[in-house]
């Protein structure tokens, strides 16, 4: 028991350090960096939504970029056309994306595994074209810019929205950062609670063995459709944050590449773990925004090559991702310290919440459905 408390303490300390870093960061970084951090948050939130569907529930989506885009366009259209105030549009985006998610979730009941990946890949590719097709609403390739009336060069003009900070000493980018940090934390807390609840356990049960789940009284169809809806809603919130942060939306921001990156964030951080997608998103962000620009000129186009190689290598060597790997490690330590004693509560939690991609699974049900 002592070691377990020790591990718990380690975890708490990690959390506290993370919190301090997250709060101090905007004060020590240039404003452009702060805006990049916000972008990482939007990816983290959307990836967490995707993780609910793909990690926990086993429905693979290569098309969540389209839902992220739907959220972003919902915000942009409401602000520019309907002149909504900024923050309420986030809720609207979540609702719209929930509905879209449920609609996509219906055919997904019959289309599974690799085939669902194929269909959602097509959705991701199609999304920018749909935006171009309905350019009256979406602004086509020129996109939409969130503007407000501002005084400039002696007259009132429509200019890009600014986030005026109500707190003295907090610059506008810092204010924006904390608002989005709060939204992100809310999303993650909701997901953490959802995953721990009965519903969360039924998601995993469906992923691992749909028939067994059905037998044990879970309404599989309803759960799967709702998961798609909730997952889409969270991805939509990510997209909504993107639109508000950037103050603009363009179809080129929502191509297949985005969907791929969301998936990368999930897998890199650790599928079926609550915090994994956030870690994956941050690592990806650091790679793209901080490391890649420092590479020598001739290596610029090597960025995708490095990323692709890492992805394949990770999948082969550490498929459970960073958080999954950490959990495996702590589980092993506590098991050894206990001298191979009984499973205890803490470890059980670890196993169910991250039941990862990994486990080249002799010990689990061989007929099961593993993502």
């Amino acid at each position: 028991m002592k070691t377990l408390r020790g591990l718990g303490l380690v975890q708490t300390i990690l959390w506290a350090v993370a919190l301090i870093v997250v709060i101090v960061l905007p004060f020590t970084s240039a404003p452009f960096r702060v805006e990049q951090y916000i972008t990482w948050m939007t990816i983290a939130v959307a990836a967490a939504g995707l993780n609910l569907l793909t990690g926990y529930n086993g429905q693979i989506s290569v098309g969540h970029g389209a839902l992220y885009g739907t959220g972003a366009y919902t915000v942009a259209i409401l602000v520019t056309d309907a002149e909504w105030p900024l923050l309420p549009t986030v809720i609207a985006a979540a609702i719209v994306c929930f509905v879209v998610g449920v609609i996509i979730g219906l055919p997904a009941l019959r289309i599974k595994g690799l085939y669902l990946a194929l269909v959602t890949l097509a959705v991701a590719t199609l999304f920018p074209l749909v935006i171009e097709q309905f350019s009256d609403l979406t602004g086509g390739s020129g996109g939409l810019t969130l503007t407000s009336e501002q005084l400039y060069r002696g007259s009132i003009r429509d200019r890009r929205v600014k986030w005026e900070s109500p707190i003295d000493g907090l610059a506008s980018d810092q204010w924006k950062y904390f608002i989005f940090l709060a939204i992100s934390i809310i999303c993650f807390v909701v997901i953490a609670n959802l995953v721990k609840s009965r519903v969360g356990r039924s998601l995993v049960a469906i992923r691992d063995n749909e028939t067994a789940a059905e037998v044990s009284g879970i309404n599989v169809s309803r759960t799967k459709i709702l998961t798609f809806g909730v997952s889409a809603a969270i991805a939509g919130i990510g997209g909504a944050m993107f639109a508000l942060n950037k103050g603009q939306v363009n179809p080129t921001s929502f191509t297949l590449t985005l969907s791929i990156y969301l998936l990368v964030a999930v897998v890199l951080g650790g599928a079926s773990t609550v915090i994994g997608p956030a870690i994956g998103a941050v690592i990806y962000g650091v790679f793209i925004d901080v490391i890649s620009p420092e590479l020598p000129e001739s290596l610029h186009s090597a960025t995708p090559l490095i990323l692709g190689t890492l992805l394949v290598a990770q999948m082969l060597m550490a498929p459970s991702g960073i958080v999954g790997g950490f959990h495996d490690l702590t589980a092993r330590i506590s098991r050894r310290k206990q001298g191979g004693g009984k499973q205890d509560k803490n470890e059980e939690v670890t196993v169910t919440t991250h039941e990862v991609v990994a486990e080249t699974d002799l010990e689990t049900d061989p007929g099961g459905f593993h993502p």
Binding site: T125, Q133, S301, P304
Partner: protein, 294 residues
């Protein structure tokens, strides 16, 4: 009327390309049960190899042969290093998706690193001239594409039907354990499948490069059309890939011209096809029921 016929010809030309890409996908699916999201990039990469030989001065047919061999070797390598360690693709679909997407990114980046960012000119294999039949101009390149496609289908059919290698590949796909017991090297057959698929994909690249310009994004969207073709035809059917390819090619050329809501979305008819087929006839038009484990 001529208007429609001209566009129909465009659709048939594109359809032949989609069918070739689809054939590559079918060969992989048959031997490994895998949907390969990297097959478009594999085709792009080996088309660059073709260009390199051709630019070096080799005759086109020899350059294409060289590209196909190059593609074959890369396919074999990819299978050995990245795919075979994953095990049964339908047991771990997420791992398959991630690995093939990793290959997708990696091959794309590698191609840009090697061949740069400027689109290359690969001359049409069958030249730029056209013949006019009843007022409709048809490029020899299109006729060539259709002919090459049918020759490939014949070869594949003969391979699977009559040769020992083809029979072994089929055996491995339908039951790898018992074929292993019969002395068939399962890994070798799977590698062969990957290599063949990559070689066939090269031809799809060779025919689309003159239309789109040979750049690293040559196949990114074409791949979706290729997938639509095999969804329609059935994942494991060679005939299906061909029929599916032509249907998708024709629809995506003709529909945007006549239906204004699809004007800017040539991909949309293909997408609707994918969705409808997977929902209502998951084995496709020509696929066998048990293989399509939807």
């Amino acid at each position: 009327m001529n208007d429609f016929l001209e566009i129909l010809v465009v659709g048939i030309g594109n359809g032949a390309i989609y069918a070739m890409l689809g054939l590559g996908l079918v060969v992989i699916y048959r031997s490994t049960g895998l949907l390969n999201f990297a097959s478009g990039e594999l085709a792009m990469f080996s088309t660059f190899i073709v260009w390199t030989f051709w630019n070096f001065g080799l005759p086109m047919w020899l350059a294409i042969l060289g590209g196909m061999v190059g593609g074959f070797l890369i396919g074999v390598l990819v299978h050995k290093v990245a795919v075979s360690p994953l095990g049964d693709p339908h047991e771990r679909p997420l791992a398959v998706v991630i690995v093939t997407i990793g290959l997708f990114l990696g091959l794309n980046g590698a191609a840009q690193l090697i061949w740069g960012t400027v689109d290359k000119r690969l001359d049409p294999w069958f030249g730029v001239s056209q013949i006019t039949v009843g007022g409709v101009a048809i490029a020899w390149q299109k006729i060539g594409a259709v002919v090459v496609l049918f020759m490939m289908v014949l070869l594949l059919w003969a391979l699977f039907k009559f040769t020992k290698v083809g029979l072994s590949m089929r055996a491995v796909a339908s039951n790898s354990e018992s074929s292993a017991l019969c002395g068939v090297s399962v890994q070798n057959m799977l590698m062969l499948g990957w290599g063949m698929a990559a070689g066939i994909g090269t031809l799809a690249g060779v025919f689309s490069a003159p239309n789109l310009g040979l750049g690293t994004n040559l196949m990114q969207l074409t791949l979706v059309f290729g997938f639509a073709a095999i969804v329609l035809g059935g994942f494991d059917s060679i005939l299906g890939a061909v029929v599916g390819g032509f249907v998708v090619g024709i629809l995506s050329s003709v529909v945007p011209q006549y239906v204004s809501v699809f004007e800017k979305m040539p991909l949309a008819p293909a997408f609707i096809l994918i969705l409808a087929v997977l929902l209502f006839r998951p084995q496709g038009l020509f696929g066998s029921k048990e293989v399509a484990r939807v």
